[in-house]
């Protein structure tokens, strides 16, 4: 298992737009390695080349220079995608199929048949919380539901590598939390995940390592704790601390040459608040909020 899950070497992609004299350099001399079992987050502003990079890794777009490999096999080979799942950004599947039919179709593309296929489809619908909506056509799905069926589709062949392009974009906090839980679960099972996002707090929570792209160039890369730790600071969180205790702590700190930089009331996150507030009304069922906003 020393094989890199993903290896990108000297990758450059130039787009030539018809009727434009200037070519667009979407990715410039990119080098990237993702180890097996790692959760890697590719960050960057809009148009920085995240999606292009992912598509090249998956062999959907051909590189101008450089090469990409998945588990040691070149991306231009079909067999490199044998154990790969992909969720494109803003996925849109066949709207004339139901949720269940969609998963069956993708299962068959991965050569699943019979009871293996049936079991897998049922499991996945359960996993992404779409069991109730499985007989609904995708044309009636909300954005969050599409994102979830997309995630289920990416997992249908029990991949060793999952590539997710903005997995939580446009999904409500409950759905986004559920998707992050699924990703955490994939990591538990040793599955490599490469995801792109610009929702930084979410990335912070699930990624082992991140790389930051800007105008097609990888400007920062590293383990998350190392990148964001402030070396000389430590935080304490206390419950029921009396004024006297706080005075004591300040005094101790002053005596030992340390400085109390900030003192504030702990707050909950807006996400927690949102989740608690919306939970009371509609149970814990994931698909509930979308079902209520569905028209007709």
């Amino acid at each position: 298992m020393t094989e890199e899950a993903i290896a990108v070497e000297g990758l450059t992609k130039v787009f030539h737009v018809p009727f434009h004299r200037k070519a667009i350099v979407a990715v410039r001399d990119l080098n990237l390695r993702v180890g097996p079992g790692e959760v890697y987050g590719l960050l960057g502003p809009n148009g920085s080349g995240k999606s292009t990079t992912l598509k090249i890794i998956l062999g959907l777009v051909s590189p101008t220079h450089g090469r990409t490999k998945i588990f040691g096999r070149d991306s231009s080979l079909v067999e490199s995608r044998e154990a790969v799942g992909f969720l494109p950004e803003n996925p849109y599947f066949y709207r004339f199929l139901t949720g269940e039919e969609t998963l069956r179709f993708f299962g068959k593309l991965c050569r699943l048949t019979g009871s293996r296929l049936n079991d897998r489809v049922r499991e996945l619908l359960e996993l992404v919380g779409l069991t109730n909506a499985r007989d609904q056509r995708l044309s009636t799905y909300s954005k969050g539901m599409l994102q979830r069926i997309g995630l289920a589709q990416a997992l249908v062949n029990e991949p060793k590598l999952v590539v997710l392009d903005e997995p939580t974009a446009g999904v409500d906090p409950a759905g986004s939390r559920a998707i992050r839980n699924i990703i955490a679960d994939l990591r538990q099972r040793g599955i490599t995940v490469l995801l792109s996002s610009h929702l930084l707090t979410q990335v912070q929570e699930i990624c082992d390592r991140v790389g930051i792209l800007a105008r097609g160039v990888l400007v920062r890369e590293g383990h998350l704790e190392e990148l964001i730790a402030i070396e000389n600071r430590t935080e304490l969180v206390l419950e029921n601390a009396s004024d006297a205790l706080m005075k004591e702590i300040e005094k101790l700190a002053a005596n030992s040459n340390a400085k109390l930089v900030e003192r504030r009331r702990s707050t909950t996150t807006l996400e927690r608040l949102f989740l608690d507030a919306t939970k009371r009304n509609d149970e814990t069922e994931m698909s509930k909020p979308e079902e209520m906003t569905k028209s007709e």
């Binding site: 959907l60 079909v78 599947f93 199929l97 039919e101």
Partner: protein, 294 residues
């Protein structure tokens, strides 16, 4: 889990073909065309009846003609949007990001259309044959009634004449050739749609191909007669014949209406020609599709 890769998997192609067929049957276009064809064939029953020979001839002419036009139209319209639609919806990403070779994707799409065309041609010809059969039986019983006192030999002659003008095996040959033509047009449409930028472009190009394809054999004969043809002209004509298939070769309606028996050799030749064209266009589509930036 079986993780060994198959370079070619019929199961994957079938999955894509079945999906394509579902897509097309769940689109209303298909039903509109079919209903229209059914109505037209049905209406030929109510044609002014001269002699039964004329009636049967008109019926065959109209029905086979309609079948030919509708299957061609269906082939072009249904195929033109398949790939562009998948590209627009990005469904093509999810499919090709799995271990699906691009040629399997194309073959699956084409197979789906060919299945749809087969279903429509079978439905249309079944209706046509039933209608023709019913009319034939009516004429037979009328003849029997009218000639009940005529001598045996004369009556047999009359009945044979009715049967010869009515249903015969050549109709099936005509239908098979119509199906082949539709398949050829579908394959060519698929090829055009791999590089076309809009669906309208594909459809317009295909309508041109349809007309030129029907006219070109006449034009070619004229040319070859007119000039003492040099190799340049011949090369040019060969090229035209490759890009614009000779669709007139797939038209047996005149022979069937005239009641000329269709030789098996002609049928085999036509089938080979059709399969050759389909193969060439599919290869060309694959070639363009592999170089396509998605």
């Amino acid at each position: 889990m079986d993780s060994s890769h198959r370079l070619f998997s019929f199961q994957r192609i079938l999955a894509i073909a079945a999906n394509t067929l579902t897509e097309l049957t769940r689109q209303k276009v298909f039903y509109v065309l079919l209903i229209f064809a059914l109505v037209l064939i049905g209406s030929s029953v109510f044609m002014a009846r001269f002699s039964f020979q004329q009636e049967f001839q008109i019926m065959k002419d109209i029905s086979l003609g309609a079948m030919s036009i509708f299957s061609s139209l269906l082939a072009i319209v249904a195929t033109a949007r398949l790939i562009p639609q998948d590209v627009d919806d990005r469904t093509i990403y999810t499919i090709l990001a799995k271990a699906v070779p691009r040629f399997e994707y194309l073959l699956g799409k084409l197979l789906g259309v060919l299945l749809l065309l087969a279903i429509s041609v079978v439905l249309m010809s079944a209706l046509f044959i039933v209608v023709l059969y019913v009319r034939e039986q009516t004429v037979v019983s009328e003849t029997l009634r009218q000639m009940s006192r005529a001598p045996r030999e004369q009556m047999d002659n009359a009945l044979n004449a009715v049967r010869a003008a009515g249903l015969n095996i050549d109709i099936l040959a005509g239908v098979a050739v119509i199906y082949l033509k539709a398949c050829l047009l579908a394959a060519l449409t698929l090829f055009v749609s791999t590089f076309a930028t809009t669906n309208i472009f594909t459809v317009v190009v295909m309508v041109f191909v349809y007309f030129i394809g029907h006219l070109q054999s006449t034009a070619r004969e004229y040319w070859l007669e007119q000039q003492t043809t040099g190799w340049l002209t011949r090369a040019f004509l060969a090229l035209v014949a490759l890009i614009f298939p000779d669709l007139q070769a797939f038209n047996l309606v005149d022979e069937i209406v005239a009641g000329v028996a269709i030789p098996l050799a002609l049928l085999a030749n036509t089938a080979l020609l059709g399969i050759f064209y389909i193969g060439i266009y599919t290869l060309a589509a694959t070639f363009v599709f592999y170089g396509k930036e998605l």
